[in-house]
């Protein structure tokens, strides 16, 4: 019966035999000449060839850093040399609604161009009159005499 120590030694011999095979491996003939030939042409390679031959680890970081610097520089240059903002175009003009024939002119101009006259009596009873004059476009002329007083007398409306 084989003892466990003998089995263990047998396994050790098996392992040693395999490791000895690794130590016996020989390169193809002429390795030294091929290496020297490669070293001879290495200095003549363009920088991008050398870059492609080099291990990727360190050069990959350098390329990433350089790319980041270039992008950052381009963004900075663009943002500092951007043309000044042009004057915004006029997209909306407030044109007062034409006064229909025979109708009384609106007491207040520019109350959101509401078709119905303001219920002044009602609003006056509860809260007073809140009138606001919307600022119309300066190029649109206001009809003459259409500016309403901002605060009509409260006593007159209450009676």
């Amino acid at each position: 019966m084989i003892s466990s120590s003998e089995v263990g030694r047998a396994y050790d011999r098996e392992i040693d035999a395999t490791l000895a095979v690794l130590d016996s491996v020989q390169p193809r003939a002429g390795l030294e000449q091929r290496v020297m030939a490669h070293l001879e042409i290495a200095p003549r390679l363009a920088w991008y060839h050398r870059l492609s031959l080099a291990p990727a680890g360190r050069h990959r970081w350098m390329i990433a850093t350089a790319s980041g610097v270039i992008v950052l520089g381009a963004v900075t240059i663009y943002s500092t040399h951007r043309p000044p903002d042009a004057a915004p175009a006029v997209t909306h003009q407030v044109v007062p609604r034409p006064i229909p024939q025979g109708a009384a002119p609106a007491a207040v101009v520019g109350l959101n161009s509401h078709p119905f006259p303001a219920n002044i009596a009602r609003t006056h009873r509860h809260r007073g009159i809140h009138q606001s004059v919307r600022a119309v476009h300066p190029r649109v002329p206001l009809p003459s005499g259409t500016m309403a007083p901002l605060r009509p007398a409260l006593s007159a409306a209450a009676h």
């Binding site: 491996v25 390169p27 290496v35 070293l39 001879e40």
Partner: protein, 196 residues
């Protein structure tokens, strides 16, 4: 001056910080001597990890390319052999890590080629090569630190102290890793029902 030294002389630009006495012909001669003396050792170091002849040769060339780039450090190197082995070792480990899947290109034929054929018939050579390949597969399943110590110990020319220098650990750490590697490998062989 041999052919290769002469061809290198005109092609090696001297770095600015190179000492005055280190001339280009000296560097070229040193490099040629290193190539002639250590190419085989470095090939075996690379092959122990890659198990592929073409990759191992690539690693040897890449090692000496590195040496060419850092040739100004050559006069400072005390032990060129360990230095070169460390470069090759790190290069081949880097390449191994970048390979996502286990390569299908392991060279059993390379193992068969180096077996002592005079004692075995051809079919026995193949069987023996397959057994060794299986043991190497089990070695690959060991934890990384133990596997590396075991594979470096395969090189007869490396002592435990030199293995420790290559791995960047202490000599006692190398011994304990070797002990655990052999114990774990024997367990794996036993579980497979391996008959020695």
């Amino acid at each position: 001056m041999g052919t290769y030294e002469g061809s290198l002389t005109g092609l090696l630009p001297m770095p600015e910080n190179a000492p005055a006495e280190a001339s280009a012909p000296d560097c070229a001669a040193d490099l040629t001597a290193l190539v002639n003396e250590y190419s085989g050792t470095l090939y075996r170091v690379a092959f122990s990890i890659s198990r592929n002849a073409a990759e191992a040769e690539d690693m040897v060339q890449e090692t000496f390319l590195r040496v060419l780039r850092h040739r100004d450090r050559l006069p400072e190197i005390r032990d060129a052999r360990v230095w070169l082995i460390r470069i090759t070792w790190n290069l081949v480990l880097d390449r191994k890590r970048r390979q996502k899947t286990r390569p299908e290109n392991e060279d059993i034929s390379e193992l068969a080629r180096v077996l002592p054929a005079r004692e075995l018939r051809a079919d026995q050579v193949v069987i023996s090569a397959q057994r060794h390949a299986r043991v190497l597969e089990l070695i690959d399943q060991l934890p990384g630190k133990e596997r590396q110590a075991l594979l470096l110990s395969a090189l007869d020319e490396l002592s435990n102290a030199e293995i420790a220098s290559v791995l960047g650990v202490t000599e006692s750490s190398v011994r304990s890793r070797l002990f655990r590697a052999r114990r774990d490998l024997a367990d794996k062989l036993r579980r497979e029902g391996w008959k020695p």
